[in-house]
Symmetry: C2
Subunit: 346 residues, 2 copies
DNA sequence: CCGCCTTTATGAAACGTTTCATCGAATGTG
DNA sequence: CACATTCGATGAAACGTTTCATAAAGGCGG
């Protein structure tokens, strides 16, 4: 009943014998390397397809490349990340590269390190770290051993490329939109941050900063009202309850992320208030949640696909030339007004 | 300016020299294999931590294991899958195994094959395929080369283990719940399936079957009303519009998946009807959507974490003994009633 | 027609690990 | 005390690929 002792996997040696050439030649054909005549190429190609040969990635890793790119995703539940991944895989279609995703625990620096180390152990040709929380020095350490692109984190380094969204502008878009509708008491719920590096580099911190600057720019400095919780539904709920309990209740809440806005909406309806009649709510990321007809949340779109595509381009570039100067790409977000924002009551 | 020519990575040879033992001994210590005295072990362990040695997975792959498990996820956007993954990684914590996720295009058989092949090329010690759409014979082919567990697909095979939810029961729970509330005209939106294999094995087909059986069981055979679209928001929207246009409109819609229910809710509110006053809606999967306070969708919970944990157990078992008889685990779903279901109007 | 350079093809070494076959020492048995 | 057995440790082979050094063949100018 046992599977009949699998035939040994076809190797490059088998192909070479079958095509009557050396393994070196086969290797050259596989990699489109210089030094194989068209005639040889044809012969080898035929042998490959006749035998159904597939290169063993592990063996390749020992000498050359693995044709594998590792993506560290901190949270599979964040509906923004699949967008980036789609952009990535689309840009990589046609190349030999395969993307593998390592799930790095949400907000767990140790888990993040574990995954990135595991990827290096496995000989990834390149790594993409999405919104990593590791320290700068650790990121540079990683980037020094493997070509790396950091996505969604500000702050430059000679060691790695970065692709991020201009969160400062994004926050300004939201404040501008709300102020334009006539709101003055616009509050913000942020993700608490204490680490000094991250305070300058993480998107959440930049968004909070952008909120404050925009409030100043609109002459609303005195109305600045920030609640510090976390970028979770629970964090939004808790934060909104605090805001709703204020003696002068805000007329609009700018949540730092869509998922936070979900918690905010819960708290508001629990308090018996109506959105947007009594209070406006805006999120950030334009996730699937925001797009649901039932929710229709005003949000900021980050063009995830675009981010993914740029990331792929940068990474392939860097794999080709490890010593080229590092690049920083910053993309502009756009505001997507929906039905959770309206002029303030009266 | 260039990074100072990275020091060569520490290898097992370095460790052996530093500890004054053979590489064989180091290898034994690494794998907790038989034949190394406690004294040796201690010496080697110290050398390992002093040098910061990490085994090269690629080299390991050539001879032994990679300590890597590959998970094929058809759709990162499906909020049910992260649950499974959480269960998996949790069950794997403490072991040496690392999970890597391969994004296999949604409903794209070719993309799925591509990813699974890539995983085999990369020497995965085991594979977990979540709701794969490949043919049975292809699945068996894969399982014959790598220990494999198939999740969320019915149908047994000697070649692989399966973990799935009892979708028949799940559908019955929904129908029972709605019938109990007094509904008779309960419609169902299914994901169209034509392939004969999949018609018997895919969860969507089983759910549709379960719906019909349950309707019979409740004496509602004459009210059976199925619309065949796809498991997408769009599919739900289109399906619901068809149902709402019926001369005898259903009083309840059982959507085959939460994401479908989202589209249904959109169509209903667009038609100016109220949920659940005018019409009840139930989903399946108990995803994050369903749990959102604003939506509060009645749904069927599949205990994803539990599924993931069982999957990990089965896979490790099978890696340990490739020839043990295959196992099929079927877990029971539970109904989570929320605010989208209520007694029919009048 | 000779020598030089380019192109094409090859054998062998190397990558870092595990495993096989030995081998010496320690232990137990008669 | 001699001998068989077990245990602990080791050197070398093997995995499948890429790359280095080398060799043969072909083209070209003089």
């Amino acid at each position: 009943m046992e599977p009949p002792a699998l035939p040994r996997r076809v190797t490059i040696v088998d192909v070479a014998q079958h095509a009557q050439v050396s393994t070196t030649t086969v290797s050259k054909v596989l990699r489109n390397a210089y030094g194989a005549s068209p005639a040889m190429r044809a012969k080898v190609q035929q042998a490959i397809s006749e035998l159904g040969y597939r290169p063993n990635a592990a063996a390749r890793a020992m000498r050359g490349q693995t044709y594998t790119l590792g993506v560290m995703l901190p949270d599979l539940r964040n509906p923004f990340f699949p967008e980036i991944l789609d952009g990535l895989t689309e840009a990589l279609r046609g190349t030999e590269y395969q993307v593998l995703v390592g799930p790095g625990g949400c907000n767990d620096e140790q888990a993040e390190s574990h995954v990135t180390d595991a990827m290096i152990d496995r000989g990834m040709d390149g790594m993409i770290l999405i919104a990593p929380i590791s320290s700068r020095s650790r990121l540079e350490h990683l980037a020094n051993r493997v070509p790396t692109v950091i996505v969604g984190r500000h702050g430059h380094s000679a060691a790695y490329d970065t692709v991020s969204d201009d969160d400062l502008t994004g926050a300004a878009l939201v404040v501008g939109h709300l102020a334009g509708l006539g709101h003055r008491r616009i509050a913000h719920i942020e993700h608490a941050e204490t680490d000094p590096d991250r305070l300058v580099e993480m998107p959440n911190a930049i968004r909070a900063d952008g909120y404050q600057r925009a409030m100043h720019a609109h002459g609303l400095a005195s109305e600045i009202d920030i609640v510090s919780t976390t970028y979770t539904q629970e964090g939004g709920y808790v934060g909104a309850r605090q805001l709703l309990a204020r003696s002068r209740r805000p007329t609009a809440i700018f949540a730092g992320a869509d998922i936070v806005a979900m918690g905010v909406l819960d708290a508001i309806s629990e308090a018996g208030l109506l959105v947007p009649a009594d209070i406006s709510v805006a999120g950030y990321d334009n996730t699937t949640f925001a797009q649901l007809g039932q929710i229709s949340l005003t949000s900021v779109d980050q063009a995830g696909r675009h981010i993914g595509a740029e990331t792929a381009r940068l990474l392939l570039d860097r794999i080709a030339d490890r010593h080229r100067p590092s690049a920083q790409i910053k993309l502009s977000p756009t505001l997507v007004p929906r039905r959770t924002t309206a002029p303030p009551p009266e």
